[in-house]
C-alpha cells in the first residue's frame, strides 16, 4: 500500500514538473493563478506544522513536541540552518521525554 502511494505521488509530482515545461506560456500570465499557486505551499506547510505537533491520529494532544516546536521557532527566527532547526527540535523532544 505504501508502495502504491509512493509511486502515484511521485508520478503526480513529475507530471506537474513536465506540465510546466510543456504548457503554453499564456498560463503564466493569469494573475489569479500566479498569486494563488505560491499560497498553497505556505498553507500546507503551516497546516503540517500545526497538525503534526498537536495531534496523535485524530486526537488533539499537548506533549513535548509543543516544546520542540517553540525551540524550532526560536532557531528559525535566529536564521539557523535547516539541520540545526531539526536537530534542536529533536533534542528538545528527546530531553523532554527523559525528564
Amino acid at each position: 500500500m505504501i508502495w502504491a502511494g509512493v509511486l502515484v505521488a511521485s508520478a503526480s509530482c513529475y507530471a506537474l514538473k513536465l506540465a510546466g515545461l510543456s504548457l503554453p506560456q499564456s498560463w503564466l500570465e493569469n494573475q489569479r493563478v500566479q498569486r494563488t499557486v505560491p499560497m498553497i505551499p505556505i498553507a500546507l506547510l503551516a497546516a503540517l506544522v500545526g497538525t503534526q505537533t498537536f495531534s496523535v491520529g485524530q486526537h488533539l494532544v499537548l506533549d513535548v513536541r509543543a516544546a520542540a516546536l517553540v525551540v524550532a521557532i526560536v532557531a528559525v527566527v535566529l536564521r539557523a540552518p535547516f539541520l540545526v532547526v531539526v536537530a534542536v527540535a529533536s533534542a528538545t523532544a528527546a530531553l523532554g521525554r527523559l525528564i
Binding site: 502511494g5 509530482c13 503564466l28 506544522v49
Partner: protein
C-alpha cells in the same frame, strides 16, 4: 573567476546544504515506517523536498497513504509554475525535456532565473540539477541507513523532527504580512477540523480553502 566556475561553486554549495537536509529526510522517512528502498525511491522518483517530507509525515502521523500522496502532489503544484517560467529559457524538447522536467524544483529555478545571460541560466540549471540530485540521494541513503540501525527513533525525538522540518521550509516564505496570516489561519483551521475528519484530510481542506481565497479574493 570565470562565470562557469562561479556557477559550479554556487551549485555545489546548494547541493551540499540540500544533502544535509536529505539526511534528515532519510531519517524521518525510515522512522515513519517506510522501508529503505521506499525512502530511496522517493528521493530518486519524486525529487522535490517538501512533497517528500509531506508524504512521509502524513504516513508517520498515522494518516492514510492517499491523503499523504494528495498532499505531496498539491505541494508539487508550484513546480509546474517554475516549469512555465523556465520553459523559454531552457528551450528543451524530446528526451532532454523529459530529463529536464525532473530537475524543475525550487533551487534549480532560483539558480537559473538569477542569471541575466540565457546561456549562464541554462548552465546554472543543469549544474545545480545534477549536483543536487546526486547529493540529495546520497544524503537520503545515509539518513535512512543510520536510522535503520536505531531501535527506537522516538527516544531520539525524531517524531518532533517533521514539524521542525516543515517550519524551516516555511520560514523563508513568510517575509510579508499576507503569507504570515495565511500560515496562521491554515494551522488553526487544520487543528480545528482534525478531530472530525480522517487523518490527512485537514491538509486537503486547507488546500481547498486557500485556493478559493487566492482565486476569488478581490484585487486591490
Amino acid at each position: 573567476m570565470p562565470w562557469d566556475r562561479a556557477i559550479l561553486r554556487d551549485a555545489l554549495g546548494i547541493a551540499v546544504a540540500s544533502g544535509a537536509y536529505a539526511i534528515s529526510f532519510g531519517a524521518i522517512s525510515t522512522a515513519a515506517g517506510l522501508s529503505l528502498l521506499q525512502t530511496c525511491a522517493l528521493s530518486v522518483l519524486m525529487f522535490t523536498g517538501a512533497s517528500q517530507f509531506a508524504l512521509v509525515g502524513v504516513i508517520g502521523a498515522g494518516g492514510s497513504v492517499w491523503a499523504g500522496a494528495a498532499t505531496a502532489a498539491l505541494l508539487g503544484s508550484r513546480n509546474a509554475m517554475y516549469g512555465l517560467r523556465l520553459s523559454s529559457l531552457l528551450d528543451v524538447r524530446g528526451l532532454r525535456r523529459i530529463a529536464a522536467a525532473q530537475f524543475v524544483i525550487d533551487e534549480t529555478t532560483a539558480m537559473a532565473i538569477a542569471r541575466d545571460d540565457p546561456r549562464q541560466g541554462r548552465f546554472a540549471f543543469w549544474a545545480t540539477g545534477f549536483a543536487l540530485f546526486t547529493l540529495w540521494n546520497v544524503g537520503t541513503l545515509i539518513g535512512a541507513l543510520a536510522t535503520h540501525a536505531l531501535s527506537n527513533p522516538k527516544a531520539l525525538g525524531l517524531d518532533a523532527a517533521p514539524p521542525a522540518a516543515f517550519l524551516a521550509l516555511l520560514a523563508p516564505r513568510l517575509r510579508a504580512r499576507e503569507p504570515l496570516a495565511i500560515a496562521l489561519a491554515a494551522a488553526v483551521v487544520a487543528i480545528a477540523v482534525l478531530p472530525f475528519v480522517p487523518a490527512g484530510v485537514p491538509l486537503l481542506i486547507v488546500a481547498l480553502l486557500v485556493s478559493l481565497y487566492g482565486l476569488f479574493k478581490r484585487t486591490a
